[in-house]
Amino acid sequence: MGSSLSLFDIQLYNLIHFFDDQESVQKALADCPNLKAIHDKVEQTPAIKNLEDSNTMSSRGPMRLSKTYPHPQQQHQPPAQQQQQQQYQQQQQQHQQQQHQPSQFYQPTAPYPPTEASPNYGGDYPMPQPQIPSGYVTDYNAPQSQTAPSYNNAFFSPQTAFYAPSSQQQQQIPSNQPMPGMEYLSNNPLFNVGLNVVEQGMKDFTGKTVNMLPTEMKKSISSIKYYFAVDQAYVFKKLCLLLFPFRPRNWSLAYSADEPVPPRVDTNAPDYYIPLMSAITYVLVAGLVLGTQDKFTPEQLGMHASSVLVWNIIEICVLCFTFYILNVQSKLRTLDLIAYCGYKYVGMIAALSSYLITHSLFVYRCSLLYVSLSLSYFLVKCLRLQILPDTGGSQPYGSGGSKRRIYLLLLIVILQPLFIWYLTRHLIVV
């Protein structure tokens, strides 16, 4: 590994020093020579050796990694850190120095970085803090901060806007700010440690860096995670909005630092949770309807599920194809489009439920009509801001472009009620 320390070494060092007393440490080291080698290497680094003599670092707060650190970061949340913070609360001893990174590699920060992040939704949503310079990659909470867990982030990016469910039970969350481009693969810190270990091992073994997952997959995983960053209030508001969008309100999306804000914060943002759940519910409700007509077999469920998938794929392909042919450049990403096309299942469920309850064709048709109207209105309002050009009109041929876009918008909006009708009509028998 050469003479430079990697984060892996530091983490192992931290893990070793989890024990309170030196005897257990030595015993652990004696058992495993590899561990001892790494431990000694870390200790022998001149910076740490100097730090061990002076006790200046124990009063300091969290450390920060410099952004020039080349090691591919997967995570900064080994379990040892959490235990260390618990240690801090219990005792201030010399063993606190395991936190001390060699100063030639890392830059320490002020003892108590600001923890008053702007509103914490569930304690883990980060908002960008302009006072933090963007050079910092990671830091973790000052041990003395007993406030609600919060992330300190230099960047806000979609990658960071998701839950850390395992952190809810802990008193403090070591805040992790991956650089944009590196992100969690899962919220389980052990998983990331394992990934780190394997990557480091491969690097030593083969002499070249091997990515466990291709970068493309990492990026798509993180961008999909953005769409699942929802909470109950958002889901409730969005469902009400889908079924009754006619109140005057502001439909624009909120952005922060040029990135769209996750759905947890902004009710107007698209998400994947509602489409996914409502698609599954639709399959179940269809099974229920078939059951009341004595036509149910378990294969029907699978058939409905696969036709939902297939029709979704067809619809998205047709829309993407149309976007491409008409050469419309818009802020709407494909992933957003998938989300917007998934909102029709809510309407489908509503129409089917009304039929289920009343068994009357008239009620079904009325609810179908109402659901189509409200969904169309909802989509027009949402997509208008994203597909249609700004009224500023900087293009010389703006009229042609906007006409095309209007047609595209109309296509999207008309497709939805058609699908709703087509996918429910075979269930209606009277």
Partner: protein, 88 residues
């Protein structure tokens, strides 16, 4: 109703086959003739949003699909034929 994923794959394969066997001479050059009269139409920039752009896009798409999928299509077709023979 009752679509399965397999029928989607089959339909996609048939469509790509159809695009691949279009005859350049008879079909594509006819469309190209209309476009050649406006050599700059749709070729400049992204904000040139006229109908010629749509045709250009379509032709570009067709041409690129043919170029890319010529060889893989042979493989896909063979696989599908075998699959159909074996499993009906």
């Amino acid at each position: 109703m009752g679509f399965s994923l397999y029928s989607l794959i089959e339909a996609a394969l048939l469509c790509v086959n159809a695009v691949a066997i279009l005859n350049e001479q008879r079909f594509l050059s006819k469309i190209n003739v209309d476009n050649q009269n406006y050599p700059g139409a749709g070729a400049y920039g992204n904000d040139h949003q006229n109908a010629g752009g749509a045709k250009q896009q379509l032709l570009t798409l067709i041409r690129s699909v043919r170029t890319v999928m010529r060889v893989p299509l042979i493989a896909f077709n063979i696989i599908t034929i075998l699959f159909l023979i074996l499993f009906g």
